[in-house]
Symmetry: C2
Subunit: 409 residues, 2 copies
């Protein structure tokens, strides 16, 4: 970071008034040197840092911008709603429209409940499962991220033993481990909470294997305990009906957020009929949960994704990026491990335990105008064009050359 940069100056100011200057998943100190912390502008598939440097954006605000920054159809829907009213003494008609649209779009969804954050949605799912079963233990995969409340945050500072007392852990994609966890929960088995793909930071993305998916469904069926899919990260990027639709396996509850409203703060829980009374019995709410503007954004986002084959376009562009990177890696004699659905790609390097190659690759690609991430899955949007991908591949070419040179290839 150049000391005469606007980003550096903002970081200095931020350090005075925010502990550490930044926190959470967007803390740029976790990224290679040169990554900016502050952004001044975003449009479509591009964003600009505080110093005016332009990047093709492969994080999409870590997921939300599924149709690209400032998408005109979404902005227009929000403008129209805001001109009428946003935060009122109850919801607008748009809440019903959105709930109807979601129940039509998502096969398992007999009803919907709205929140603001992904953590709100996963927390509500767990609460509904406990209310429905009268039991407490929720099975979760080791290392899976389900939010940042005390019961699920990955960092234990400030978290009590009691906050985690009702979680039982299993290994993702391991049916036997899941069965053992279910046995450890005993009579107190209240449900399984699972991400639709394994997308833990810093390791290859694994698709769920069909045996594991069936196993989870069966264990839940046997004890009438909800199968909960945490579709916060993958939702609306893999399949509009839910990320396990291609398996033909449906959850009882799903948590959604990130991409649901193209960057407007919104989350949702969808679920099956048998859980309706349990939902009515719990109390969850929030000051801004009924705001009409983010719901108008969600209606427009889901319709646009559906009517323009947004997911198909993201996939095509993700595959163009992937095959382009593979070709470049061969050219430079560098071995890549590309995993994840093409819309949520992860690029790791062989023989790179400390992410040194990945960091170098990303730092050089960044300098050449592509905003990649060295350890976390990335996100395509429906705004990415062939030109964007080709521009990013030029930046990647420079990054891979640097990796090859550093390795003495």
């Amino acid at each position: 970071m150049l000391k005469n940069s606007a980003d550096y100056a903002l970081r200095r100011r931020a350090e005075q008034v925010i502990p550490g200057g930044m926190w959470g998943h967007m803390d740029a100190r976790k990224l290679p040197d040169g990554y900016p912390q502050f952004f001044s502008k975003a449009h479509g598939s591009r964003l600009w840092d505080a110093d005016g440097n332009e990047y093709v954006d492969f994080m999409c605000a870590w997921g939300p911008m599924v149709l690209g920054h400032g998408n005109p159809a979404i902005e227009e829907a929000v403008r129209r709603q805001v001109a009428m009213g946003d935060c009122m003494n109850g919801p607008g008609e748009v809440m019903v429209e959105l709930a109807e649209l979601l129940t039509r779009t998502i096969p398992h969804a007999d009803w919907v409940l709205f929140q603001k954050n992904g953590t709100d949605a996963t927390t509500a799912c767990v609460t509904i499962a406990r209310a429905a079963t009268g039991r407490s233990k929720i099975l979760v995969a080791k290392g899976s991220y389900h939010g940042a409340a005390p019961w699920c945050t990955p960092v234990m500072n400030g978290v009590t033993e009691q906050d985690r007392a009702n979680l039982v852990y299993f290994e993702y994609n391991d049916c036997e481990s899941l069965r053992q966890a279910r046995d450890r929960a005993g009579k107190d088995f209240a449900g399984i909470l699972v991400t639709p793909i394994r997308h833990d930071m810093g390791r290859e993305v694994e698709l769920a294997n069909p045996e594991f998916v069936r196993c989870a469904r069966e264990l839940c069926d046997t004890d009438q305990a909800p199968l909960i899919i945490d579709d916060v990260r993958a939702g609306f990027r893999l399949h509009l009906g839910g990320s396990w639709e291609p398996y033909g396996v449906r959850p009882d509850l799903s948590a959604w957020s990130k991409a649901i409203a193209n960057g407007r703060a919104l989350a949702a829980v969808t679920g099956r009929e048998w859980l309706r009374e349990a939902v009515r019995s719990i109390f969850v709410t929030g000051s801004f949960w009924y705001g009409a503007a983010s719901m108008a954004a969600a209606v427009a986002t889901i319709r646009t994704l559906r009517d323009t084959d947004g997911i198909g376009r993201m996939k095509t562009m993700g595959e163009r990026l992937r095959s382009g990177l593979d070709a470049l890696a061969r050219k430079h004699g560098v071995a890549l491990r590309q995993t994840g659905p093409a819309q949520m790609p992860l690029v790791l390097f062989e023989d790179d335990p400390d992410f040194e190659k990945g960091n170098l690759f990303c730092a050089i690609a960044l300098r050449n105008g592509a905003y990649f991430h060295p350890r976390h899955n990335m996100f395509l949007s429906a705004a990415h064009s062939e030109d964007d991908i080709d521009h990013a591949l030029e930046a990647a070419d420079a990054g891979l050359r640097a990796v090859a040179e550093a390795a003495g290839v």
Copy 2:
């Protein structure tokens, strides 16, 4: 509710796709007959239901609309920021501006951390207190509302014993009870979480008494445990520097939300220097927490409140309402109990254990164009004018006449 109304039709549709048709604090089934569930429009101090009926709004979306619906200065600030970018791969410069503004405005605030919901903020406060002290027990007042996560929601369905295992209860405004709670926490005393006024639903609003305030401060000082003010509901309506500033007693941590950004989803934790390292040690985050638009709204909201004496204007209008209601009550021979700060008034009736008088009063006032609440404190905004108050008093006149007639006065 008339069966040919738009509101009725929306409720029927909502029942299909949302458990019970509605949930949370804005569920209109908790209000007297005739209260609408859905709203179509809001402007300044007025809002319109789905059938086009207009009301002077005394709930302000249950707090957020502190400058009135669609305030032009706030809307313009949001428009400008949205045109640049909202949800990006990091915050905008406006995050630093807002944090600087808050630390200048709030005397105890050496730093700021942002979230989306009030519950996020109170949860972060409790986590910071535990991280800072290495202890677990948080003292909270019986019946105080601190949010709707399992550890604090007022309804226990779906909540486990462990979720509440680290709370120790005291009676609000009772120093001896607070001391006893502190003793019960023993060596595990991690802090006190308290609302700045007692604003529990359905009972008179009580201001904190100075002895209680001092007592809380002293207990925290003795053990270096944070004193946490939950200023989510009262914040930015009583005193811009924090609701206990008039007592000369400052907290170590405060939670803010509702009025901070005039209806845009935002929350904040502010705190003292000695807690900075504890904040750095915990992990809290959310997909939309760094969005620039709601932060731009907050900068504009706080500046407008400060530069136009927004709090003073709300207080003046609240007092006009209160004295007007008192005069009308005398005229009709009805005994009212008016409590709370004038900006957050509560109107209860003497000898009304089941809120029958309050419900009748509100139902009739509603029909005459004033949206009051029979059991929860109400909210004034800086957009309320003398005309609004006088119009509302005419509606109240009709309501009080109905109460007098029903009581045979």
